[in-house]
Symmetry: C2
Subunit: 111 residues, 2 copies
Amino acid sequence: MLNESNLDQAFQALSDPARRNMLSRLSRGPASVSELAAPLRMSLPAVLQHLKSLEESGLVSTEKKGRVRTARLEGNAIAEAEQWLTDRRTEWEARADRLESFLATLQEKGE
Amino acid sequence: MLNESNLDQAFQALSDPARRNMLSRLSRGPASVSELAAPLRMSLPAVLQHLKSLEESGLVSTEKKGRVRTARLEGNAIAEAEQWLTDRRTEWEARADRLESFLATLQEKGE
């Protein structure tokens, strides 16, 4: 479960295009650091820095076997950040719906 | 439609608890700056700074009438940030499902 401070870190991690690129890759399955780095035009230390930020946010976990570090998406953490937005959107839509039926009632009364 | 740079700003805006508090309030309907500031323990300039960051991200719009600035949620922008996460999660879940049926097939063959 992501608490407020985890949400801070998760959304912060999501605010960078290179990190979103890495998350998109990982949503299709685990990947090594070099696989994550391949499409990105940046140095390996920069890639590792982004990966560290993703790990600290809880959106990604990594495991090292021998010389290869493998990263995988933590789907549940993604789902929790998504849920925060879903809750806001549904509340906003419910209000928009109520407003619409209220205005329709006013119009009927006016006719 | 949020492009990559908009997504950067939207997720950046979401990474702060005071700004998420303001978005939660606005999901229930438009609010004045003082209504937004009421539950937050911070100076008015700090609140205005957060509101500016929300406006620049596209998640919120504001309108000034007389001396009152009213903010409202841009539900479609919230929905687009949500959609980015939904796409990643569903891709991740589809892969997890495929993996599960593959393992089930292996097990059947082994029996």
